[in-house]
Symmetry: C2
Subunit: 191 residues, 2 copies
């Protein structure tokens, strides 16, 4: 059965959008935010300049959409690790380690681009989502006796996320893993 016309259109739009996001991210990574033009993006994405402007008004909005998609993918990845079978402590470790690696990759964004991307509302939402998510895992850990219960899970969430933000300055995977080990040690029941 042939696809409905609307579905075909929708698929095509999504494919163009994805191509524009990938192309722009690659160009910005290579030349910096100021070294890229809308014409160059259109050319490299294989579409006309007028078509590109039907999708996005400027480079910042493309990078914002790219960032939003990337953050959503990261949150999905973390949710997948959380939902695996296993003790809460193990799943917490898997999630925090993945989060730390994400922070390490982010370290490469560069100041100017980072400032633009983090202006978006989507970042605030993603942070809230992440906090909620980590807090849930910590609460499970407290119930299982694997996480300290003398400090509220909300405060422990702030501790974790701040401590792991330090992964942004680390250059090796081994150093990131050590940071996760130290951060987890802070979460264990005292005594």
């Amino acid at each position: 059965m042939p696809k409905l016309w609307n579905e075909t259109i929708e698929e095509h739009r999504r494919a163009v959008r994805d191509a524009v996001l990938e192309t722009t991210a690659a160009l910005v990574a290579e030349h910096g935010l100021r070294g890229v033009t809308m014409s160059r993006i259109a050319e490299k994405s294989g579409i006309g300049r007028a078509t590109l402007y039907k999708y996005f008004p400027d480079i910042e909005s493309i990078m914002m959409a790219w960032h939003e998609r990337r953050i959503a993918a990261h949150l999905d990845e973390l949710a997948e690790l959380r939902d695996r079978p296993g003790a809460p402590g193990e799943r917490l470790e898997a999630v925090l380690e993945r989060y730390a690696f994400i922070q390490q990759q982010r370290g490469g964004h560069g100041g100017e681009l980072s400032a633009v991307l983090h202006r978006g509302d989507h970042v605030v939402h993603a942070e809230q989502h992440l906090r909620h998510f980590v807090r849930g895992l910590l609460e499970e850990g407290v119930r299982a006796g694997e996480v300290r219960s003398d400090v509220a899970p909300d405060e422990l969430t702030g501790y974790c996320l701040h401590a792991l933000a330090g992964a942004g300055g680390l250059t090796s995977k081994a150093a990131v893993r050590r940071l996760v080990t130290v951060t987890l040690a802070g979460l264990r029941p005292p005594g």
Copy 2:
């Protein structure tokens, strides 16, 4: 014996400078960076506008000087706690707790002012100084068997400072103390 003329001049200059820094900081805290003018600062400091311009070209440079002086005072305070008698672990705790309270106060700066202040070179120097300082304390702690030796002191320094930066979002002193407790737990020798 009367003071030398140069000393008197020097003292007077310092007094004027201090008055300008205090007045400006108070005005900016009340009205925000954009709600303050050089004329108002001169008036409130009890000096002429022309005199003020002999000391500072603009409000940003006054706030930068104020911030530099404040950071220096904080570092002195931390050094004083480090140099007290006691076991390395106790002194580490005292220093990290004080640092966390400083971070908590800083939370009130506000985004715009913070962005201006942290543009200064003095902040980079202060951060290097602080890292060096905390690393020294951690090294002492490792030698005394009070701090874990399986992770390099330099990495533990990054962990501490990032984790304690979270104090900026905390509203009570008790919450700051809990954050310090959790952070210190991460530093203890595993076992």
